[in-house]
């Protein structure tokens, strides 16, 4: 009973319960945090006298550069994601607008044939057609 009970319960929303840790942005951020941690250690070791000044400066520069590189990738990615989401949004807006418009009616005013596709001339009698708003 104890084991089967969850199966009978309604399915919870989506995959929130299954952790995902490798989205590109999150991974970049994680790697930066690791570098900050390394920098902190480096600073401490230098203050403790474990590192020669030359080593300290070179390493510090390298770590900072690494972090900057990751930051740059991250920002590019953010821009790209922002663009993507803008495109998505735009598409969604247009799709919504299109769907909101009533579908035009291509019924031939001359012979009364209901053309199934948007056409300029009637498929049945060849008379010119101007799309009209469908009624009722």
């Amino acid at each position: 009973m104890f084991v089967v009970a969850p199966l009978l319960a309604p399915e919870a929303a989506g995959e929130a319960g299954l952790p995902v840790d490798v989205t590109p942005l999150a991974d970049l951020k994680r790697r930066r945090l690791v570098i900050y941690d390394n920098l902190q250690d480096l600073e401490f070791e230098y203050k403790a006298g474990k590192l020669a000044p030359g080593d300290y400066q070179a390493l510090r520069r390298d770590y900072t550069a690494e972090a900057a590189q990751l930051m740059a990738t991250s920002q590019d990615l953010e821009v790209a994601t922002a663009e993507d989401s803008w495109i998505e949004r735009e598409v969604a807006v247009r799709r919504a607008r299109r769907n909101a418009l009533p579908a035009p009616d291509y019924t031939c005013p001359k012979c009364g044939f209901e053309n199934p596709l948007p056409v300029k001339f009637c498929g049945e009698c060849g008379a010119r057609i101007r799309p009209a708003k469908k009624q009722g």
């Binding site: 490798v22 401490f44 390493l59």
Partner: protein, 554 residues
């Protein structure tokens, strides 16, 4: 999580079916009779092997077992991460934590086993390189290698594939150890654990290996290294050397353990590979490892210039040289023991230097007093300083190991008033007592111990004869001090004179083995306390997970 559960349950299913179908402990005894089998209940059992009737035996097997079983968890997490391709940060941190727990239990179990051997077997030592002892040491060594190389992955995003390999190896060796113990393919003092489950384990081992290695191959592209090595002289390469030595040790011990089987297969003769072999092979490896224990933490991450090296190595090396010369002058001529103590001094001073330098820096910047600074230093990064405490424990262990070289022993026939001399100790027989308990009969000799004429109390080794199993055993009497143990065994009775045969060992520094083990245990506990940095990472992960969850839901 779902795959973690699946993998763990697969392991569970294997062991449950072995227990149920092959070695069921709920089998019943029946007696054949004319009316078919009849339930049979003997009046008395065979009794537990008398050698095992000792108090630390209550805790030693469960500890080892927790270790063996516990290594299934990191394995399951690694496999699950490979299956889901979620090979970021989460799994490696979870895995590291879950490796430390079984590593600690396994180490403690091994040490308690040594403690048992020391106080029960009566030959004056604690480690005999028995196949089953080796089997427990192997996953512990591989786990140690993993706990070190995982740091490179967390700090620098390197060695990702290698770490998975180490996890697989560790788990494999755990199952292999069980296989060695239970299948009886090698002869061992632990033969009491034998049963007919060997072939099933062989098949299971094959499946584990095939599954994990092919999975690793399928996912190799997700385990790309994030960084390159900056310099040969760096902490990274220190860890590489550490892994090299540890795995060489695993290989050497494994090779020696299974060599009798190989020899049997190749030349048809079962040779014995015992303590003399392992001592010769393992001691140099152990000393190299000890050297790295001290040298590794002195190297900086990424690259270390000669100037930095000099800053860090000068004091420990100077201290070690002083100790080395002092030892030589005081007459230590046993090379390995001398080398071991020399390196112990080097490592101990290098670790103390780390603590001291760190604390002094905190004092300067934060204005804390020294003790407070040490405390804050440790709690800010429990992993590093917990690790140093573990290293200190290892140093103490090696001090204890070195003492083995100066063991002294004598054997003599004793009776009331007889004296036995060993080193500067004199043991004088006071009385011989015999007695009877429901479980065993015993004979006991009381010995008055004195050192340089100073009385130190009495030792009462006894000999027991267990009625159920018809086996005699001896109970060792030990007078322990930090410097040396006096260890007396009542080995038997001389048939001609009727005198008691007493063997006496003086084992220098043995106490440090137990102390070192305890310090290692404490250090591991300390390393498991979440530090500030780790808490921050955990918070970030939670926030990130919540974010991912929300974006997926939208």
């Amino acid at each position: 999580m779902p795959y973690v559960v699946a993998i763990l349950m697969a392991t569970g299913a294997f062991f449950a079916s072995i227990t149920f179908f092959v070695a069921n402990p709920f089998g019943e005894l029946f007696m054949a009779s004319t009316a078919g089998p009849r339930p049979f209940q003997p009046a008395d059992g065979n009794g537990l092997n008398p050698l095992l009737q000792y108090h630390s035996m209550v805790i030693h097997p469960p500890m080892l077992y927790l270790g063996y079983v516990g290594f299934a968890v990191p394995f399951a997490f690694a496999m699950a991460a490979l299956i889901t391709r979620q090979l970021g940060d989460n799994w490696i941190r979870t895995t590291r934590r879950w490796t430390m727990v079984p590593w600690m239990f396994l180490g403690t179990g091994i040490l308690l086993g040594g403690r048992w051997a020391y106080s029960v077997l009566g030959w004056g030592g604690y480690w005999g390189w028995d196949p089953v002892e080796n089997a427990s040491l192997l996953p512990w060594l591989a786990g140690t290698a993993f706990l070190h190389s995982v740091m490179i992955q967390e700090k620098r995003g390197m060695l990702k594939v290698w770490n998975v390999v180490l996890i697989i190896t560790t788990f494999f060796l755990c199952i292999f150890g069980t296989f060695l113990t239970r299948s009886g393919i090698v002869s061992s003092v632990h033969a009491f654990a034998q049963s007919n489950i060997g072939p099933f384990f062989a098949v299971f081992l094959g499946i584990v290996l095939l599954f994990s290695v092919s999975l690793l191959f399928l996912r190799v592209e997700f385990l790309k290294s994030e960084n390159k090595l900056d310099s040969v002289v760096s902490r990274e390469s220190g860890f590489l050397f550490n892994n090299w030595i540890l795995l060489a040790a695993v290989f050497a011990v494994l090779w020696g353990t299974i060599f009798p089987i190989i020899s049997k297969a190749v030349q048809g003769v079962t040779v014995t590979v015992g303590a003399p072999f392992f001592n010769k092979v393992a001691v140099p490896i152990g000393l190299l490892l000890l050297f790295l224990t001290g040298a590794g933490p002195l190297l900086a991450w990424r690259k270390t210039s000669f100037q930095s090296l000099r800053r860090n190595f000068t004091l420990p090396l100077a201290a070690a040289v002083v100790v080395g010369v002092a030892l030589f002058l005081s007459g230590v001529r046993h090379f390995y023991a001398w080398m071991s103590l020399f390196l112990c001094a080097f490592v101990a001073v290098s670790i103390l230097q780390e603590f001291f330098k760190g604390a002094r820096t905190r004092q300067k910047t934060g204005g804390e007093n020294f003790l407070r600074a040490i405390y804050n230093l440790t709690m800010r990064n429990t992993r590093r300083y917990g690790g140093y405490v573990v290293h200190l424990g290892i140093v103490l262990l090696f001090v204890g190991f070195a003492g083995q070289a100066f063991q002294a022993k004598t054997k003599g026939l004793m009776q009331d008033g007889d004296e036995l001399r060993v080193k500067n100790y004199v043991l004088r027989g006071i009385s011989v007592v015999s007695g009877d308990t429901p479980n065993y009969t015993f004979q006991k000799i009381r010995l008055a111990v004195s050192k340089d004429g100073q009385p130190l109390g009495t030792l009462e080794p006894d000999r027991r004869f267990y009625k159920a199993s018809q086996q005699p055993t001896s109970h060792v009497a030990i007078r322990s001090s930090l410097a040396e143990d006096v260890y007396a065994v009542l080995a038997g009775q001389d048939p001609d004179t009727g005198k008691a045969i007493v063997e006496v060992f003086v084992n220098p520094l043995v106490a440090w083995v137990w102390i070192g083990g305890f310090v290692t245990f404490l250090g591991t506990l300390l390393a498991m306390v979440p530090s500030r940095v780790e808490r921050q990472m955990a918070e970030m992960r939670q926030a990130q997970e919540a974010g991912v969850g929300v974006s997926d839901a939208l």
